[in-house]
Symmetry: C2
Subunit: 686 residues, 2 copies
């Protein structure tokens, strides 16, 4: 392409007689230029060589060094007519663009050609006998996977074969953040999960209606694990034996049967996530869920199936309305974003291809138990979202609790303005259940085995994310399956120990002065970083709780103070953001521990609070929440709300684009958004 263009233009310059009419001015300008240059003494040759080659066109016919030098020194001719000049310059710009683009495409093809592997031959791979025939043991006498078949695959793998075994359960936000933070070479990493992909959950609602493709939201875990030369097992954690340091896992074996085996660990990270919370409602088998990528596929199929059924001549008017009634149970971000995406699809794409009557008969309903949708957001934003939904004719039912879901209708109770409870029904053709999360069976098993696990919804950890009740420093829990215990007042004796020791007294009988209180407060902040916000005005606090005005706080007064702080600390939200920060935190800490290990071995330090010694406690920084609400988006950044239309949507996309897990997913997202713009969402089910 490049050389052809160049040739054509070069011909014009060399044979002015043969140029078409539009090029007349051009060649005239060239001639006049040559005349100009010949009137100059000293530099006639360089100027005479000038030709109307636009920038970026190499002369294909001459390949020697001097032509390379001169080709860049030729100025452009100056045709007289403004229009001709404009046309010429424009074509030069476009020509340059086309030439560079063509060059890039050619380069890409050359790169592409290099990615095909011709040689199909195999190489000898050393595999440990113990990996092929694992020993049996543990409380259930199951095979124990001490070694893996790929332990000797490469130099780096061999180097970490005998490093401490770090086992990570789950491939969600927390686990992946940990894996991306971890220094390669410090641990023998094994990731265990029933799904071999990481899912970019915040955009999952977009995949349900074809705004994004399913595969653009997932990243193969093996690709992420490879960085640390780790291993991946597609298996499910069943139980943990804390004394022998073994995780019991089950996998689908070669014949489709369940196989149980143990994976030994030195450090175990539990990041298994959560399951959908049924809230004790009957008939959830009639609902769709939106937790994993396969759910998005099922939803897409179901929505298109309903649209197709609604077109059949045998479908009555009433049935059509029911089929086109989409109910979303739960007004949190997932439910709201799904309703918004669904409405977009029905409004923007369905009309083009389906009978118009369908557009008139669709209805989208959101059933929310609280008084506002998106109730964790700033109220102004919730109201903006509700206003937006009202404009889009998305029906929002607040203060409503679902009683039962039938195959063709949903029954719910609603409090009216007078506080009376009425039972209502909506016929539906599709129902999504997205009302919060609940604990997995694995987590319930762990909680039953451990002391000090009293939370029914999540595994409790201390502020170093260590699983409470498990041997110190062995087991960690992150993400949705965990909650950080903030029972400041329970640790009062710990906090007072140093002060008491200085004064030679029992902590319980201590009277602490304002100076002592400042020391205690410092230790509280270190141990519970989330409490720092509530420990800003130490003098005011001291004054308020020193009820007998003795100038000192006794044990009872201090406990009351700390209990007051406890009550103000809320548990962290079950979001991707928190899981991500916890994963990063653990990754950094594990790197520190690995660095400190040689020193500790030297000093024969084997027990003690190593975590506390090497790294600070986990502190959550809330960066804000965002939500897509149908050609508009809202942002809640530490209380500062922002909402808007299409520009906000582009911002919303940019944020997720930046947060996306890999270059691959970013490319795919960009491609998907372009696809939607060019061709709309596609409306097929298979």
């Amino acid at each position: 392409m490049l050389s052809r263009h160049a040739g054509a233009l070069a011909r014009v310059s060399q044979h002015p007689v043969r140029t078409p009419a539009t090029y007349r001015n051009l060649s005239r300008a060239l001639n006049s230029q040559v005349r100009v240059s010949s009137s100059l003494n000293g530099r006639p040759v360089a100027l005479a060589k000038r030709s109307p080659l636009p920038v970026g066109f190499f002369q294909a016919s001459r390949g020697n060094k001097s032509s390379l030098r001169t080709v860049f020194s030729r100025p452009l001719p100056t045709p007289k007519s403004a229009l001709a000049r404009f046309a010429y310059r424009t074509s030069a710009i476009l020509g340059t663009f086309v030439a560079v683009s063509t060059g890039l495409v050619v380069a890409f093809f050359i790169y592409d050609a290099s990615t095909y592997k011709e040689d199909g031959h195999t190489e000898d791979v050393p595999v440990s006998e113990l990996a092929l025939n694992p020993r049996r043991g543990g409380p259930k006498n199951l095979p124990i996977a001490d070694y893996f078949v790929d332990d000797d695959d490469c130099e780096e793998s061999r180097a970490i074969k005998h490093k401490p075994k770090l086992v990570i359960l789950g491939t969600g936000w927390g686990s992946v953040a940990l894996l991306k933070q971890l220094n390669p070479g410090d641990y023998h990493v094994t990731v265990i999960s029933p799904s071999n992909h990481f899912l970019f959950t915040p955009m999952l609602p977009s995949a349900t209606v074809g705004t994004l493709e399913l595969r653009s939201l997932v990243e193969p875990v093996r690709r992420i694990v490879r960085r640390v030369h780790g291993h991946f097992l597609k298996a499910m954690a069943e139980d943990v034996d804390f004394s022998e340091k073994l995780v019991e896992v089950s996998a689908i074996g070669p014949h489709g049967e369940k196989q149980h085996f143990y994976v030994p660990y030195d450090k175990l990270v539990v990041g298994v996530g959560s399951v959908t919370n049924p809230h004790g409602v009957k008939g959830l088998e009639n609902c769709h869920f939106l937790k994993d990528i396969s759910d998005a596929r099922l939803i897409r199929n179901a929505v298109v199936r309903n649209l197709e059924s609604a077109c059949l001549p045998t479908t009555s008017d009433e049935e059509r309305r029911r089929l086109l009634s989409f109910v979303v149970s739960g007004g949190g971000p997932t439910g709201v974003e799904f309703a918004a995406e669904l409405f977009d699809m029905l409004n923007e794409d369905m009309c083009k291809f389906f009978p118009k009557i369908l557009r008139n008969e669709i209805s989208v309903h959101v059933i929310q138990s609280r008084s506002h949708i998106l109730n964790t957001y700033d109220q102004a934003l919730s109201e903006y979202a509700e206003k937006r939904f009202a404009h889009d004719q998305v029906d929002v039912q607040t203060n409503s609790r679902v009683k039962e879901v039938f195959p063709d209708k949903i029954q719910y109770t609603q409090k009216d303005e007078n506080g009376n409870v009425v039972v209502k029904e909506i016929p539906h053709g599709f129902c999504l259940w997205s009302t919060g999360v609940s604990q997995t069976d694995f987590c319930k098993t762990l909680a039953r085995k451990l002391e000090g696990q009293n939370n029914k919804h999540a595994l409790e950890t201390d502020s170093h994310l260590r699983l409470s009740g498990a041997p110190l420093g062995d087991v960690y829990a992150i993400g949705d399956c965990s909650t950080v215990q903030n029972n400041v007042s329970d640790h009062i004796v710990n906090f007072l120990r140093t002060t008491a020791w200085e004064k030679g007294k029992e902590p319980e009988s201590l009277h602490i002065s304002y100076a002592d209180w400042r020391g205690v407060a410092k230790r509280v902040k270190q141990r519970f970083p989330q409490a720092a916000d509530h420990l800003r005005r130490l003098d005011k606090l001291f004054e308020r709780y020193d009820k007998d005005k003795s100038g000192t706080l006794d044990f009872g007064e201090l406990r009351e103070l700390l209990m007051q702080i406890d009550s103000k600390l809320t548990s962290l939200p079950a979001t991707a953001q928190r899981a991500h920060q916890q994963g990063q935190y653990l990754g950094r800490k594990f790197n520190k521990i690995a660095q400190a290990a040689p020193g500790m071995q030297l000093n024969e330090v084997e027990y003690g609070d190593i975590d506390d010694a090497v790294y600070k406690a986990f502190e959550y920084h809330h960066l804000g929440s965002l939500a897509y609400i149908g050609n508009a988006a809202i942002f809640d950044i530490n209380g500062y709300g922002m909402s808007g239309g299409l520009l906000a949507v582009y911002l919303w996309r940019s944020i997720y684009f930046a947060q996306s897990v890999s270059f691959r997913t970013r490319c795919l997202l960009a491609m998907d958004w372009s696809k939607r713009a060019l061709f709309g969402r596609d409306i097929m089910n298979f």
Copy 2:
């Protein structure tokens, strides 16, 4: 971006003192140029205005008309140092490229913003009462869909409401080619199919391993139907009542139950395709198939599942080898291309992410009943493919017939060199069954009802593609479900009728001269275009079959001649190419019939061979066959074979890229190929 660049360079030209060192030469050159121009009488102003703005940079600071005129007349400066000039020109080229690219991106964003539909309001849609409550009737007293809910959706739809009803069964190559050929406005078109997408079948094997995405190979039928303002029903044809002109179809109703109803037609096109041929082999429930896009998804999942299972520590060596043994039953294009794609994936992508031991233990087997794979291709190409497979360590078993497929092994008989039949077994973890096609139940039902349908594998049509036995001009059959009858000798009386009429004799007692024979041959060619190849040397034929050397052919001699031609005519291949040509042919013919209709109505022509009157018989032109065989491709173009490596693969892709159904699928294909180059095939299952 654009204006910032322009500004920066403009500043350089206006304040030469402030330019950096590298731009010194530049400004000096500018000054010298100005001097040059001022030495010229008559054109000092225009030349004095020259500045070192590179092509493509507008001066942002001046916005009036004169600046627009002058900005394009500035030539580039000529810095003295070759390196500086080179750097300057290169940056100018890149700058132009970046500027134009940025412009295009901005334009795309503006376009994107215009694709969001803000207004969610509905409009009144007139819907016929008969569409909402269809009348009942027909032999089974089912609802009859005379009218559809979208018959009045737009001006164009209303205009064709009472046009002849063209009903097309199926959405494969034939139906889509017909739809793309048909003039909008001539027929009231209804497309009926259980799948709402057109599948680009030749590339289906690429989708099984993630080289292409599933959605890149399919196009929504509604998008195609929209051009002719047709209707689409996701339903399955069950039966046809030829006397009342009703198709009985069944659809999945709103509650998931099967609903039967009639669709009336004036012209019916049967393009329902075929089903997999089980060849009476037991155990096919242990096999995968590759007919539809959902099969590709299941195969992808199964392959990745096997790879994951093979990594488990509990999987024994023997089991691992079995899991990684992939068997393809059938050495036709589908089987061979699947084996090639699978091997590519295992060889190029699996190694990177899975333990190396897996690469050593994979095996791909092709079981072929004939003596060569790709036996419909030129033998040199078959052998090239076999050589290629031998190099890739793909095991090819020829002369082998599958006896039974077990869940973990496949049993087949093989003829050895001495003609002895031996029974062999291959353990497998995955088996694909791709051994030809068979008739659907619907076609069997039709064939049973009609006289003259004797072919067990397909519906027989005459050379105008009209279903034999059905009322003339009502029903057509195209694609894999049909075969064109070439029984030339059965029509001998027809051919002789004109000649006999001219001579006033019975056709049977006619003796035809060479001149008569030429007339007969002409009519044979018209009626059976496929026979033309065998009717080239009329004199030779006449001579050979005039056994009594009487100079004339009697009825018996002529029949023998035509029977000889019959035997040479093979049935057309069941390929996308044939279906496509048949669809195009029908589309063109239907356009002609619609054009001729007013004239025929005027002359009260209602019966007779209208098809023959308005258009020629169908003639198949074989364009060639191609196949992908693992980083290589083969082409068989009318006997001329071609094979090669990567360049042939690019050619293979280009051909399919060009044949692809829409701009949308072409874009998606290009994106997918880029994705594979950049990120490899993705190895996730969900």
